[in-house]
């Protein structure tokens, strides 16, 4: 064991580079002596305390500033973006321990003599050498009022937290935060809720499907389907029966149809229904009855036509013949008419000659008259006989020509006209005769065609006089045949309608049952699958319950341990805390401080009470002490706990301890700090010049180093007075 093994480390210096209030580099030397940093607000005093913690541990509890990243907080106030770093040196006799941290390089080193460690090894070595971790450091070395501010709060939970921090119970609290049986209990409930919800959903669906299935089944039973029919095999059997009946119908009506395909399940029904429909159509259209009925109906149609047309044809023919005969009777036949016309033509010819001749005489007389008139003649120019004296030949000639023209010619002319008229009449009669003859011919031909058709329909030539009777007789027979066949077709349609109806019923009634059963079956499988899942979920729920019970045990154990540990620490610090309470708070009535940890069901509560003398009534400190007194009480407790802590640092760094304190309290505080500084290295950082004065008055060690920070312009301006060590 070396001579230094029992000595403790003291702070030798803190070097800060580009960190918070130091834009460049600043080294504060302490040389293991008590020290004081004082100066106005905002000159960089707290930068030293922050740098000390950051260099040693690289982190802080929670956020250093709300909503501010650590990098932004630690960067130099002026000259941002630069990599901050620092170095802390401790001394113990001749030994020197140097701890360095570089924010830019993200490196951490510990150097002791010739040995150097880096990063994780350095972290471990630091804790080993100094005998403390960050938790102990901020509880037992570095006093910042922010750490104990919670003691002033009204909220018991926050006060408990503040005491936890003071006592170093954070780890236990953190452990209690992690050990949460309720989370597992809630998880168990959640697993069971999931099961219950799914079960309810499945049952509700099952109920609905069950009701729907029951309705389908009831409809089917109303139509006389039995239980054995109300499933897929039942449907298959029913279709099989239908298929057999359909094939039998095919045989009955002499149409070959195939058996229907099997119906192993609801999915096949549509295809089988189509096959069924085709088979029914094939029977309906291809049945022999239908083949026999068609020609009969055609014959009936033909015979009906013949029956009407044969009578009409005979009547038309007879009428035409009668009309022709009547015409001949009136006008004679063609030969007679032709003879008459020849005679009339002869007569016309003669009359025309006669007329010509008569016209010649008249012309002679007219010429003679013209001659006589021009040259009186003694002789008749016609007969050349001598004319008697004074005969007026001209007049006589005129009279004679006029007479001959008017009588003879008129007569001849009338004969000519008559002959011409007669010839015309005969021509017209001949034309009429031709037309009538043609009409008779057409009527005859029509009748002939009817007879030919009748012969074709009846199968034999029928005499004209028996035609109508034979057609009507045949028509009657065919109609009788048609009636019989129609009845048979009607029976076939009834048969087909029957099977068709059965098939429709299977599809409309039985198929929905089978389909709904399939749905229900699928749902029941779903329920079975869910049951298996639920068994697993139930097992998980039970597992969660077990974990919850185990964690409850652990939690109780942690709470018990925390209570014991806290009371042990408080017990150790109690005498000193009581002494400091009386000196710092100076409460005239409540002169006794009582702090105790009490385990409750799920936490450890602290009673933070004061009493008036031993055995006096205890009162909640928050109710009877002022904020300043509470702050002083907290500081008393802090100093007591710090002094009772075991570690290798002989250092108490007090950052601005007089906030909220009145002058007498500051003086008392100065006295206490000065006392402590006589036993160990104390570094006080303050802006309170009254406190500085009091400290000096109370005999703060003469060898203390005083750093007076007088100004700040990105870097602090420091006036250091360092008397030679005593």
């Amino acid at each position: 064991m070396s001579a230094n093994d029992n000595a403790r480390w003291r702070l030798a210096s803190v070097t800060i580079r580009q960190f918070r209030g130091v834009a460049k580099e600043k080294t504060y030397a302490f040389d293991g002596r008590p020290a004081m940093l004082h100066g106005n607000n905002g000159v960089g005093k707290s930068t030293v305390a922050v740098a000390l913690q950051w260099i040693l541990f690289g982190r802080f509890y929670g956020d250093v500033l709300p909503n501010t990243k650590l990098d932004s907080f630690l960067a130099p106030v002026q000259g941002k973006g630069k990599a901050y770093s620092g170095e802390v040196a401790f001394s113990r006799g001749s030994e020197r321990l140097v701890v360095s941290r570089d924010g830019g390089a993200k490196s951490f080193t510990v150097r002791l003599g010739k040995d150097t460690w880096s990063d994780e090894k350095a972290e471990a070595k630091r804790d080993e050498i100094l005998g403390l971790d960050m938790d102990t450091f901020v509880r037992a070395v570095l006093l910042q009022q922010s750490r104990i501010r919670g003691l002033l709060l009204d909220e018991p939970k926050e006060r408990n937290k503040a005491l936890d921090r003071l006592l170093g119970m954070d780890a236990a609290e953190h452990l209690l935060d992690l050990v949460r049986p309720r989370d597992f209990s809630n998880a168990a409930v959640a697993w069971r809720d999931v099961i219950r919800d799914e079960q309810q959903q499945l049952r509700s669906q099952e109920e609905l499907l069950g009701t729907q299935l029951e309705q389908c089944q009831r409809t089917a039973r109303d139509l006389r389907f039995l239980n054995k029919d109300l499933n897929a095999p039942g449907l298959e059997v029913r279709y099989l029966e239908l298929s057999r009946d359909l094939v039998a119908l095919g045989r009955k009506y002499k149409v070959e149809v195939d058996e229907l395909p099997p119906v192993p399940g609801a999915a096949k029904v549509a295809a089988v229904a189509r096959a069924f429909e085709q088979a029914v159509r094939a029977i309906r259209l291809g049945a022999e009855l239908r083949k026999r009925l068609t020609p009969v109906q055609k014959a009936i149609a033909d015979l009906s036509g013949l029956s009407e047309r044969s009578g009409e044809a005979v009547e038309a023919r007879d009428s035409a013949v009668q009309e022709l005969e009547a015409f001949v009777k009136t006008h004679g036949d063609r030969k007679t008419l032709l003879g008459e016309r020849a005679e009339a033509q002869e007569r016309l010819k003669a009359h025309r000659q006669e007329l010509k001749e008569a016209d010649g005489l008249r012309q002679l007389l007219l010429d003679a008259h013209d001659f006589v008139k021009r040259a009186k003649s003694r002789e008749c120019p016609v007969c050349e006989r001598v004319l008697p004296e004074r005969t007026d030949l001209a007049a006589r000639l005129r009279e004679r020509s006029a007479g001959s023209a008017s009588d003879a010619m008129e007569r001849v002319r009338r004969s000519v006209e008559k002959a011409e008229g007669r010839i015309e009449e005969i021509g017209a009669a001949l034309q009429d005769l031709t037309v009538l003859g043609k009409e008779v011919e057409v009527a005859r031909k029509t009748l002939e065609k009817v007879r030919e058709k009748a012969a074709e329909v009846l199968g034999a030539t029928v005499p004209e006089n028996k035609l109508q009777a034979r057609v009507d007789e045949s028509l009657g027979a065919r109609r009788e045949e048609e009636k019989k066949l129609a009845l048979a077709v009607e029976a076939m349609e009834a048969d087909l309608e029957s099977v068709d109806g059965r098939e429709r019923q299977l599809r409309a009634v039985l198929l929905p049952v089978v389909q709904k059963r399939d749905e229900v079956a699928a749902h029941e499988e779903k329920i079975e699958a869910a049951k298996k899942r639920h068994e697993k979920s139930e097992a998980r729920g039970a597992e969660m319950d077990r974990y919850a019970a185990q964690l409850e045990v652990i939690r109780k154990a942690v709470i018990g341990a925390k209570e014991d540990l806290a009371n042990e620490l408080l017990g150790k610090a109690a005498p000193r805390a009581q002494e400091l309470y009386r000196r710092l708070v100076r409460q005239p009535v409540f002169d006794t401080l009582e702090i105790e940890a009490n385990a409750k069901a799920a936490k450890v509560d602290y009673t933070f009470q004061v009493t008036a003398g031993a055995g006096g009534a205890a009162r909640d400190a928050r109710l009877v002490l002022s904020d300043g007194q509470l702050t002083a009480t907290a500081l008393a407790l802090f100093f007591a706990l710090a002094e009772s802590s075991q570690h290798a640092l002989d250092l108490l760094y007090v950052d601005d301890p007089t906030q909220n304190l009145d002058l007498p309290c500051k003086e008392a505080m100065a006295k206490v700090v000065a006392e402590i500084a006589r036993r160990r290295q104390v570094i006080v950082s303050t802006q309170d010049e009254d406190f500085v004065t009091s400290l000096k008055a109370e005999g703060f060690p003469k060898n203390a180093i005083i750093h007076h920070i007088t100004a700040w312009d990105g870097n602090p301006t420091v006036e250091t007075s360092a008397p030679a060590s005593v």
Partner: protein
């Protein structure tokens, strides 16, 4: 192995427990080592998991209790049944076939006790009971509907008697030649003449468990419950 003889007291209840009169219990006492007295209860009380299923226990569990009657809650019966593994082959047979069996005869049950028994008797005598049992799965909802319909149509008491008839012949299907029904007396029915496990010419075969279980499943699928039970009873 199946019991050589079965005496059974059958209860159908819409409640949550059953009560057995002392005389009913006495009638279930057996002297033959291979025989068994059974209490079979069909619950129709609104519990989805248990409704319509038979809970079968060995009546020996009730013996020794004093009083004119003994009562047992459904949960106690179920718990008792779990401890009586020797009845498991019978229970498996009943659980596997009961829904289909009831479905097959629920329409016949509408005729009442006499008609139903006459039909069951004839079919049993002609060994045609199996033919009537549908191969197609009877859905859970259909089975529950059948049970509820039985109770609704006949009332709890008569439905109990019909259930007794049906259970007797369902158990007989396993391999009992003689069925004696006591419509008014005790016990409710007696099955005798067990044909399963007769000293017929045995052969020894050795199968791994999975194959033996497959044989059982295949026998059931083929409708040979007797062979299924015979093989199943040998699986250790």
């Amino acid at each position: 192995m199946l019991p050589s003889k079965i005496k059974a007291e059958v209860k159908l209840t819409t409640g949550t427990g059953v009560s057995l009169a002392a005389r009913e219990l006495e009638a279930l006492a057996v002297t033959d080592a291979g025989a068994v007295g059974l209490v079979a209860v069909l619950f129709v009380g609104g519990d989805r998991e248990r409704d319509g299923r038979w809970t079968i226990v060995d009546a020996a569990g009730f013996f020794g209790r004093n009083g004119e009657s003994v009562s047992s809650a459904r949960s106690a019966l179920v718990a008792t049944a779990r401890t009586q593994s020797w009845l498991d082959p019978l229970r498996r047979h009943v659980d596997a076939l009961w829904p289909a069996f009831l479905h097959a005869f629920v329409e016949s049950a509408e005729q009442g006790h006499a008609g139903l028994v006459a039909e069951l008797e004839t079919l049993h005598a002609e060994r045609r009971l199996r033919e009537r049992v549908p191969r197609d799965r009877v859905l859970g909802v259909e089975h529950l509907a059948n049970v509820k319909e039985l109770v609704r149509r006949h009332g709890e008491s008569d439905a109990g008697r019909l259930a007794q008839d049906l259970l007797a012949y369902l158990l007989a299907l396993v391999g009992y030649s003689k069925v004696t029904l006591n419509a008014v007396g005790v016990p409710d029915f007696v099955l005798e003449g067990c044909t399963v496990g007769d000293p017929v010419k045995h052969v020894m075969i050795s199968l791994v468990r999975t194959d033996a279980e497959r044989v059982v499943a295949l026998c059931r699928a083929a409708g040979d419950e007797r062979l299924a039970l015979a093989v199943e009873s040998k699986i250790r």
